[in-house]
Amino acid sequence: MSHHDEYNDEVLLYLDNALTGDRLKDFRAHIRGCAECKERLEQEQALSLLLRETRPLYVAPLPLRDCIAAARESAIASAWASDDLGEIRSASWKEWLRSFLHAGLNWKPAVALTLIVALCLLFVPETMQRVRATEYVEAATEIHKKYISGDLPLECRSASPDAVTTWFAGKTPFPFRLPSAQFTPAGKTKYSIAGASLVSYKGKPAAMVAYEMGPEKITLLAVSAGSVVAAGGEEVRSGELIFHYRHNANFAVTTWSNRNLTYALVSSSAISAQNPCLVCHQDMADHLVFEHVR
């Protein structure tokens, strides 16, 4: 360790204006007589200036801010929907808290408070579930875009549903299943599987399967329903399943949850909206039902 190392902490404290008294005098005297430490101090000062000028390093995306604000407001709006304090029904959480703060504590607000606390805890998770569902749509769209732009190569190339399912075995933390479980041998296949890749969703392995129909590419993302549950968009019920349709960044996205998995099917908005449904239902007896879905 060189004697200059003894001044490492002193340099940091000096930059923070935290050196005082004799320590400050000693440090200044050392700097005057030591070219190496003087150079080091100047470099540290330049770095501090650069870091200061690049504040803030990150700004939270507006949609995230909006989501959090919406979560608060939704919780409060839901909580107040059944009480008689309509004047603050539309207030934001912040405004509501302020209102409550100054309202005094007679029995009615006290009872309402208990109800609100309970409902907040109930509705915030529900709102967060919707936020996560939206994020899942965003992620599926991003994956689709990467795939069609060639930035996401297929790690498994096979048109066989069984081969693709087998390929995912042990790679995902959930037992992967293609959503089409009732293929019949009859009928001409409209789409074919192009292959599959292992991708990441929120840091966890997820399954991506690519389909093709001529030049048209469709991707299917599958994650554990423990990560996200399909929600939002236009809902269409089919048997025990609920499909959620929406358009995102010029793509049509269909999400649904089934047997502990949540799927997202992404295709170009330009193609007919029911066509992606036929990825699962083209050979099934109920395919006519899906040809009528908008």
């Binding site: 470099q43 995306p61 959090i68 890749s197």
Partner: protein, 187 residues
């Protein structure tokens, strides 16, 4: 005044004030926009649920950063056995770029370029260096506050910060040596 309303008021103010800071911390920890957003959301939810545990005079900023870090550490533990993944996260969107409207276009451009360079350099550092740079240099937390968040002695914070800055200086050498920046430093 009851505890819930007082703490709720404090929490709302704190979340507004430190929202960007929390997001920045989540970004340097995860280096992934989607994960960072998820971390911030989880932090908000946990903070709301735990707001009653806040005591008068609590350091709410440190508390929020600690919650976020604990959520992150839990996630790391859970994913230790997962295989290597294809990274799919996109770069920051336009809304994530900080722009000062008062700057002229050239200055704004230079600031953006420098911010990108600094971000890139920081993201190349090991996690323990990344977080300490953010907490000290961008969030202005004291050594003691950082020590509380990182659960280590204040002396460790200082020595780690010194090493982190040294490494960062090396990564930003060209930027720091640029003529315009040297002029600024001399002023």
């Amino acid at each position: 005044m009851n505890a819930f309303s007082e703490n709720g008021e404090l929490l709302v103010r704190a979340l507004d004030e430190f929202f960007d800071g929390l997001y920045g911390y989540a970004m340097v920890l995860s280096r992934d926009r989607t994960e960072a957003e998820d971390l911030v959301q989880e932090t908000c939810v946990r903070a709301i649920q735990a707001s009653e545990s806040l005591r008068p005079g609590s350091n709410i900023k440190s508390w929020l950063f600690t919650i976020l870090r604990n959520i992150w550490l839990n996630q790391i533990r859970q994913r230790r056995s997962t295989p290597k993944l294809v990274e799919l996260e996109a770069d920051d969107g336009p809304s994530a770029v900080a722009v000062e409207p008062s700057k002229d276009p050239h200055a704004a451009y230079v600031a953006k370029v420098e911010r990108d360079l600094v971000r890139e350099a920081i993201q190349k550092l090991p996690e323990e260096f990344r977080e300490i740079i953010l907490l000290r240099e961008y969030e202005d937390l004291s050594y003691q506050e950082i020590a509380t968040i990182l659960d280590c002695p204040a002396g460790t914070v200082m020595s780690r910060l010194g090493r982190a800055r040294s490494k960062l200086r090396g990564l930003l050498f060209d930027t720091l040596q640029a003529p315009e920046r040297r002029e600024k430093g001399a002023q």
